[in-house]
């Protein structure tokens, strides 16, 4: 009999253990539940970072294991955010409207409530009609289903068209960039029904929890994000541990040869593409309530390119590499761009890190590619092996 994948991959249990320690530790130090040493806004940064680790995990599955360099997975992440954001915004606006009409001499009709919600949400784009795509926005379970369904369906249709025509390599990467760009441009329009460049905001306010403080809500989301990442990691490790993992790595290395073994390469790519799109969407649905706002700029093509950079820096094809890359780069990035890093005055020129951080990142990327092609995760492997010896 085959041994469990947990025994064959000790890194899984180590990762889950570290993640649990991290989450409990952060909670103890937080303002919401503990000592107050970590600010609520930093708890949110940590929670968001866990979500970015989850999408990096998806990127590692699709690119590191299956060899599909998708530069469009942030489209799925963003769509997941929009789907949950619609419910957050609608349900909360509905509460506000009902509360404000409560003192009216006549009880408001449901039509009046709808009109008021419509003008509250869509006033910024010059409308008050509630667009058709908001039909189910009042329902949490339906929007939650759409978090999975809409990005999954987009991935299915896009993947089916692209893989069936055997688009591979750089052409596929360009096509995925075009997909995310097209989606961003569409959402930028005021009549897209999703408030154009304003996006959806106030997402940090959870309907039905208006008297719960952000200190507490931030901890809820930290735990939800950690849970999603932990489950995602278990799922990914299980998926790649068996014959399916063998087949997709074989597709990455020589897809023609895999066809002659009788495997339908296109079907496998499609399965991996759709699964990872759904993981990305779940990550997005947890990220944006912590960010508070989502707008179309979030799914600009550059976002998905960063995602590939994180995974490359962390090291492809080993799951924890993607986590290390995403956590390391995104945390450093938010530090450099927060303005907390002192500028470097050179007399004739002042290095402002907010601007120069990207140069530093690019330089780091080149260094990793040249001197540690297996990424930070590869260095980690070498350390562990040395201890074994």
């Amino acid at each position: 009999m085959e041994r469990s994948f947990l025994i064959r991959q000790p890194s899984v249990l180590i990762f889950i253990g570290l993640l649990a320690l991290f989450t409990i530790g952060a909670t103890i130090l937080s303002e919401g539940f503990g000592l107050g040493l970590i600010s609520t806004s930093f708890i949110k940064t940590l929670g968001k970072t866990l979500c970015l680790c989850l999408i990096a995990l998806a990127m590692d599955l699709v690119w590191g294991y299956c060899g599909i360099l998708s530069l469009g997975h942030f489209a799925f992440f963003g769509l997941g955010g929009y789907m949950i954001g619609m419910w957050l915004m609608y349900a909360r606006t509905e509460q506000i409207v009902i509360n404000s009409l409560a003192n009216a001499p006549l009880p408001p009709t449901s039509g009046e409530i709808r009109d008021a919600i419509g003008s509250q949400i869509f006033g910024v784009v010059g409308g008050s009609e509630i667009p058709t795509i908001w039909t189910f926005a009042h329902s949490f379970p339906i929007q939650l289903t759409l978090v999975v369904l809409v990005p999954g369906l987009l991935a299915l249709v896009f993947g089916w068209l692209a893989f069936r025509s055997r688009v591979t390599g750089v052409y596929l990467s360009i096509l995925t960039q075009a997909m995310t760009l097209a989606l961003a441009l569409y959402l930028f329009q005021n009549d897209s029904g999703l408030r154009g460049n304003n996006g959806l905001s106030g997402l940090q306010n959870i309907p039905g929890a208006s008297n719960v403080s952000q200190d507490t809500i931030s901890i809820w989301f930290l735990w939800a994000s950690a849970l999603a990442l932990g489950l995602g990691y278990l799922f990914a490790a299980w998926l790649v541990s068996g014959k399916f993992g063998s087949v997709i790595r074989a597709i990455r290395d020589d897809e023609t040869r895999v066809r002659y073994l009788g495997y339908s390469v296109e079907a496998y790519k499609l399965v991996v593409f759709v699964i990872t799109a759904v993981i990305a969407a779940i990550a997005g649905a947890l990220y944006y309530p912590q960010a508070g706002i989502i707008n179309p700029a979030e799914i600009a093509p550059i976002a998905s390119i960063y995602l590939a950079v994180w995974v490359a820096i962390g090291g492809r094809g080993r799951l924890y590499g993607a986590i290390i890359g995403a956590a390391f780069v995104s945390l450093i990035s938010s530090w450099f761009t927060s303005g907390q890093v002192p500028d470097v005055p050179l007399g004739f020129y002042t290095v402002k890190w907010v601007d120069w951080w990207l140069v530093l990142l690019g330089f780091g990327f080149v260094l990793v590619t040249l001197y540690a092609p297996k990424g930070l995760g590869g260095l980690f492997d070498r350390l562990v092996r040395r201890q074994d010896a």
Partner: protein, 249 residues
């Protein structure tokens, strides 16, 4: 012939690459349990012929049918053709170098190829013993846990033949299996192929006359994309046309 019904029939096939006719009205048949050698000078169209049978190249004209009742292979894609029972070994050894010998063989083992079945596949003892038996046949029994990228050239060739056998195909197409092998390795390769042909059809493309002689089977000589001669090795080596275009040089 009645004891050995036709398994593969290629008739009137032509392929043109940018105006160059690589296969020219080619016709031949392979029986259900036979070993066949295909020889011919470089560029004769041997590899292209395999590309057509396995669905990699679509011919301009002609028919390729397989099995009984005859399935039209020209309407199927590569993976579907592999699933009906045609296995192929490429000219350069192509095994999955970043995976172990064991994993390479498990992947090739005849099982459902659908993604859902593969996701939930967990190997059982009977699969493991099948793989171990195969590994013994190809002389890699003690190499199962090695990465296949670490194997010698000859061992990679055998692993690939082993993967073909694991697929349990009815028709095996083998492109230049002995290229780059030592004489002892060649001898072993001949044994493996002869044994495989006891229960299925095996078509071996080869350059080397000595190797073909040792296979001791019917020989088809290709030249400029068409059959030049067919028969026993002694028959074709005495054929004047064959001597002129191939052996005489």
């Amino acid at each position: 012939m009645s004891k050995n019904p036709t398994l593969l029939e290629v008739s009137g096939v032509s392929v043109t690459f940018d105006g160059f006719r690589a296969i020219n009205n080619l016709s031949f048949q392979i029986g259900s349990a036979e070993l066949r050698a295909v020889i011919g000078p470089n560029g004769a169209g041997k590899t292209t012929m395999m590309d057509i049978i396995t669905g990699k190249t679509r011919p301009d004209t002609g028919k390729v049918t397989y099995g009984r009742p005859g399935k039209n292979l020209l309407k199927m894609n590569e993976s579907a053709i592999a699933r009906v029972g045609i296995g192929r070994k490429f000219q350069r050894p192509s095994v999955f170098e970043s995976q172990t010998v064991f994993d390479n063989l498990i992947m090739a083992l005849k099982k459902s190829r659908s993604p859902l079945d593969v996701v939930f596949y967990r190997r059982d003892d009977s699969d493991v013993s099948k793989v171990e038996k195969l590994a013994a046949e190809i002389g890699l029994a003690d190499q199962l846990q090695r990465l296949s990228g670490e194997l010698s050239h000859g061992q990679k060739q055998w692993l690939e033949i082993g993967m073909l056998l694991a697929q349990d195909p009815q028709l095996l197409l083998v492109d230049e299996p002995a290229a780059g092998m030592t004489p002892e390795e060649r001898e072993k390769t001949t044994d493996i192929l002869r044994k495989a042909a006891e229960t299925r059809a095996v078509v071996v493309v080869e350059h080397d006359m000595e190797f073909v002689r040792r296979l001791d089977c019917r020989v088809t000589v290709l030249h400029e994309g068409a059959v030049l001669a067919e028969g026993s090795i002694d028959h074709v080596t005495q054929d004047q046309a064959v001597i002129d275009v191939y052996l005489g040089r």
